[in-house]
Symmetry: C2
């Protein structure tokens, strides 16, 4: 390959660095109205009445809409492709504004005003009368007999309960000589912390409602808005410019449905609905807090005989992506070590907490922490070698998951482990660090993961791409797949250049999606785009190239089958002599007096394949026991994501994911008032996101396999880097101190408790 694999600069680097790149706020009409949402000050109950009299008096107020005014339609918000089968459809459990309050800061009314300040002032002047119930914040409380019902459709507050069993667990554990290890693990509520808060801008034009939004999934948001308002898909138009990050939060309809409705209330005038950072924290989506109970039965040779998991996921107030995440967790539990009898059971439970949704790696960081902590707990109990036991039991090439049928078409996991081990001298240090005393101790830890590439066959994988020849022989590439900061446009441009035979400067990505004209794609999630949309792109590029060569053949009076394109020139297949430039073909195809052809191609790829990415994290920490501090001294992630499409941007992806993993393991969590359910730390001062000063040097390496199902041998890379970091740190702390801490983050309070219990602090 000529271009794939090169460490090229991002195609959007210049515009982003110079401020030319347009984001949603840059596109807001200067005459836009401003909307503000009134959020409830209770977490559980009913809105009984509003007193709007003072609010209406605020100068500049154009409209006030309450939960009693909005259409009586329940709609789903999750960023999943729709299904025509009702049982596969997302749960429609919220209205545009809700009279039944289900979390603190639920959306109950909105003001539209000429200025942002007027809207803000008016919102504060709305008086609300509630009927209030005790907030249910924990899974345990929600599942209690007689608990207040949060959604009447789910009388026991369980959104979904699912289970599977591979082999017979009960039979398997009867085997003689098995060692049983049991553990309970817990992960916190954290959030995405994308730079650009949730915001959109809506207006009416051409008989349509247009919503310009910071979203990962314009085509899905179009469908959600049409469902929420009860209008046809074709009357909604979503425009997605550049966005300042999403990490899964924007894989959900956030401000768009309400904003689409608000503009219809004011005669189609433009309305801006921009959430503050505080609202983005408290009123969008979070990562699901989960609890896991794991039991393992190990044979004396280190092989797993039987494993079981029970998982509980705190959904919060509304379903959003609902059970898909914890299902992914318990599936990941099965796939990573697919040996012996395995059973899993999972619950997704409504509570009065903020709604949890998609977040980078979608349930796998949770199970990744639990499972890899548990493996080191097995190691601690059995004395097996921590690397050997993993290698022995982990997924191997050719594995077919018995539930999903997802197949391991390629794996470099063993080499990833070896690279990481070698980098850190893990085995040597691990032994060395096992017997320390003193207040400051060192430890090494590691964790592995597998991650599937896209969502097939659990859900639909489909993508369409269009290519359009410019008259100078350059190429427009128009995709429903979205650039969300991850570098998608750059690798798509490389793919297009590679397959058509052009140089990179000839590729123009149409970065902005506009559902009126952009080919359908479900969007950026599941690390699917370079694989699924990449396949659609490759298919389209091949069709496009064929059409281009047909016209070149017409010009050259030769069989197009004999022609190829190399570096912007038409050549005989396998020869280098330049017969014609693509620019000449383009000019003639447009302006031929006898045979003009405006060469374009548009193809759908209905993807019916999937594969696994793999990787490891190796980390060395220093634990200050009296200060209850963990310092990361060295850390490396090694990934098998198949062919690395662009080493520069891939490294960026890994660094970002590692940073998120470090925060997950060490600092990040949301804190809530246990009485009201109000989020305490809904800002970037109190929510402890990793800063540059907190971050050690991040090391990234790759083991490049060639996956036969990927368009260019590539597999998912976007989400995986965040997965193995937290368990690796936890395992390093265990190595350093002998203390197994089964919940994250490893903040000082938690360490103080654990070290105190272990007798390290007296």
């Amino acid at each position: 390959m000529n271009i794939i694999g090169k460490p090229l600069n991002r195609v959007d680097a210049y515009d982003k660095v110079t401020g030319k790149a347009k984001y949603t706020p840059d596109l807001v009409s200067p005459h836009a109205l401003h909307a503000k949402v009134l959020h409830s000050t209770i977490a559980n109950g009913w809105v009984k009445e509003f007193d709007l009299s003072e609010a209406w008096k605020v100068e500049g107020v154009v409209d006030i809409v309450t939960c009693f005014d909005v259409p009586d339609i329940q709609f789903p918000t999750a960023g999943h492709p729709w299904s025509t089968e009702p049982k596969h459809q997302d749960i429609a459990d919220r209205k545009l504004l809700n009279a039944r309050v289900r979390c603190y800061a639920d959306d109950i009314a909105a003001v539209v005003a000429e200025t942002e300040i007027a809207a803000e002032v008016a919102v504060r002047k709305i008086k609300v009368t509630y009927e209030e119930y005790t907030p249910i914040l924990s899974i345990e409380d929600a599942m209690k007999e007689g608990a207040t019902v949060i959604h009447e459709e789910k009388p026991n507050n369980v959104v979904v309960h699912s289970s599977y069993e591979i082999g017979s667990f009960e039979e398997a554990i009867k085997e003689k000589g098995l060692i049983k290890v049991v553990g309970d693990y817990e992960t916190p509520i954290v959030t995405h912390c994308h730079i650009e808060p949730a915001n959109s801008f809506a207006y009416m034009e051409d008989g349509k409602i247009v919503v310009v939004s910071s979203t990962q999934i314009p085509h899905i948001v179009r469908r959600v808005c049409s469902q929420a308002l009860g209008v046809g898909f074709g009357t909604i138009r979503i425009v997605k410019p550049y966005i300042g990050g999403g990490f899964g939060n924007k894989q959900d309809a956030l401000t768009e449905p309400l904003n689409a409705y608000l503009t219809t209330r004011v005669g189609g005038r433009p309305v801006r609905l921009a959430y503050t950072r505080e609202e983005t924290f408290a009123c969008t989506r979070t990562r699901h807090a989960m609890k896991f109970h794991i039991e393992s039965y190990i044979r004396p040779d280190g092989s797993f005989a039987a494993r079981s998991i029970e998982a509980y996921s705190n959904q919060g107030a509304y379903a959003s992506h609902a059970h898909a995440l914890v299902a992914n967790s318990v599936n990941g539990f099965r796939m990573m070590y697919p040996v012996g009898a395995i059973k899993g059971e999972a619950y997704t439970v409504y509570t009065n907490m903020p709604t949890a949704g998609a977040m980078r790696a979608y349930g796998i960081p949770q199970i990744g922490f639990a499972l890899e902590a548990h493996v080191d707990d097995i190691v601690a109990k059995t004395g097996f070698d921590s690397i050997k036991i993993r290698k022995q039991n982990m997924m191997k090439l050719g594995f077919v998951d018995p539930v999903t049928t997802i197949t391991c078409h390629s794996t470099g996991l063993e080499e990833c482990i070896d690279k990481g081990e070698k980098y850190l001298s893990y085995t040597k240090k691990r032994k060395e660090y096992e017997k320390q005393d003193g207040p400051i101790r060192r430890g090494v830890g590691m964790a592995i993961f597998c991650y599937k590439t896209g969502v097939y066959p659990i859900s639909l994988e489909t993508s369409a791409v269009r290519m359009l020849l410019n008259q100078d022989g350059s190429l427009q590439v128009q995709m429903g797949a979205t650039e969300i900061g991850q570098g998608a446009d750059t690798v798509f441009a490389m793919m297009a250049a590679e397959t058509v035979g052009l140089t990179m400067d000839k590729i123009h990505m149409v970065s902005k999606q506009d559902t009126d004209v952009t080919p359908y794609d479900t969007g950026a999630y599941a690390s699917r785009q370079s694989y699924v949309s990449g396949l659609a792109l490759k298919k389209t590029a091949e069709t496009f190239k064929k059409k281009l060569l047909e016209f070149a053949g017409f010009m050259l009076k030769c069989d197009p089958w004999d022609l190829d394109i190399k570096e912007n020139y038409i050549v005989h297949t396998n020869k280098d002599e330049r017969l014609l430039s693509v620019a000449e073909v383009a000019l003639e195809s447009c302006y031929s007096m006898t045979n003009s052809q405006h060469i374009s191609a548009e193809e759908t790829h209905h993807c019916t394949d999937n594969t696994y990415s793999f990787g490891v994290c190796f980390v060395e920490v220093e634990v200050d026991i009296p200060m209850c501090q963990v310092k990361v001294l060295d850390i490396i992630n090694v990934h098998d994501s198949g062919t690395i499409l662009n080493h520069q941007t891939a490294r960026g992806q890994v660094h970002g994911g590692m940073s998120m993993g470090l925060g997950y393991g060490l600092y990040e969590r949301h804190l809530f008032d246990p009485k009201t359910g109000r989020m305490y730390n809904d800002n970037l001062l109190d929510y402890k996101l990793m800063t540059a000063l907190d971050t050690p040097d991040l090391h990234a390496d790759f083991v490049e396999t060639y996956d036969p199902t990927g368009p260019y041998g590539n597999k998912s890379l976007g989400e995986p880097p965040t997965i193995p970091v937290a368990p690796a740190i936890r395992n390093a702390v265990l190595n350093a101190t002998g203390v197994a801490i089964n919940a994250i983050p490893l903040h000082p309070q938690r360490l103080f408790g654990a070290f105190t219990d272990a007798g390290l602090i007296k």
Copy 2:
């Protein structure tokens, strides 16, 4: 046909009436810089030097660029498709700013500033030193031996000289008994008077120069900008929103090339270049003033034995569309009465007048006036019946033009004449009015015309269209053809509904063109779109329908060939029972778990056909001889434009064209200072455009033929209505007064001279 022909409301009516429709000024970034052009205060000469010192002192000035700074590239501006053959290419005779000044108000420098006022003030503070020559304002002066050369490439100031001869003119006039009639006719400089002045807005993004512009021809403007700046087509992006009229003025690159350059000077910051009404009058394009010398030889039976024409077209300072217009005039002369021997000769001549370009009906109103005045001069001299002589000699069905090969595939001209005659009781009144005296007299007049539909085979006719299925079964139609106020989107929507089998509410026109993603089409001119782009639309709609039925066949497990679409439902061909809704097909095609297909179609039509539209104007006037006033008492246009696609919008087209024809015949002309060449009446107070008070009731009628080459039997209608009005009025004045006036407009000064010469005023 179910939809074609219905008098439906315009699809953009609601948005235009409510102010929701977006025009270029609505899209200007609030932080845009403002550009102003410095126009020369001489008409002929050289800029020797600028003193910019005072201009630079104006606060807010960001850049000043002069004719000495711009790229040394000459480029063409005409809205023609490009040709890869140099001899068919438009004349590249101007730079972005010109040191060689060729007309009063030529573009010589520009200022970019933070505010419009700062730009305006700075422009006024620029001091210019000129070398000045005597302005050449007339064709006669320009063609004089030793005249100053305006463009060095054309040392005799003749842009192009062309001629043709059908049969042998010299042989033909030897025939015995021929009556010779000679006449000289003259038409004035007039302008388009579109509501929205020339304006654009340029910035850089994604490595491209983006120009949002009020243009009829976005794809051509893209090419012109790339030529003017010497950069690849693919690095220019033109966006065309709704526009407030064009009438041919915006079938030229106007502000766009300079604005594209200006944004590159300021690091890609957005720059607005909005011409005032005065600049739009004086610095964009005008209708060519032409002079004609016609000789006719008529047999005693009224048939034409030989005809000749000599035509001179005043091009003004730059070539723009150049000779294409007067060539169209002398071709029209030949086509209208294609009998006997015919010869034509035409000159397009550079002068120091404002640049003439395209304007509604492109040379045909000029020849229409001369020719139809001349036919009534023949009638006056010979006593033949004015209708009979026309019917006898005019183009008939099956006519093939010997020069262009354009064929008459349909004609309703004879019925048009009969309808108009009957409406006005023309023959009866004509006789009655022949012998009046007294100061106030009445007269009737008529004129006929033919007009070709599109530019094939003189130039390239090509169009591409894309259709995209929405998930609710509605349809996006994306075309390079442009809505310029003429109602194109409405008839295209009707065509799409008709051919696919949907109702009108299911058709969503993507009205805005964006050369990055919009299929190629040369744009709105030559009354080509409903014919040429209509054919491309029909072809695309058929492909789209085929794909839709294929998917429906897959769902219904039957042969798609047996299926059809009627009013949004899939039916068995020729049956009415509804098998499935298109919405169901759309939903399944998007979300099928086994066979998702994002149904779209994109087709090019390379058009190799053309045909003629026809029509007449009949008018009755009252002439106040002492006051030298002409009042129109009754007027009707009757058109054969094939199938009328939408009777309501067609009627609007005819009314608009008639209004323009009335102005052309009675009021409109530009006046110039004979010493400097400065336009006197560059505003809507002094330029006498028809107002509502000046306008009589306008009557429009149609004779519907079915043209076999049109997509739905339709032929051109956009430009024709303006053609026959002025000669019909002139002929009515002749009928009323016996005075043949061979120049328009028939303003009081002209009538005073003519009536005085004729002895009617003493």
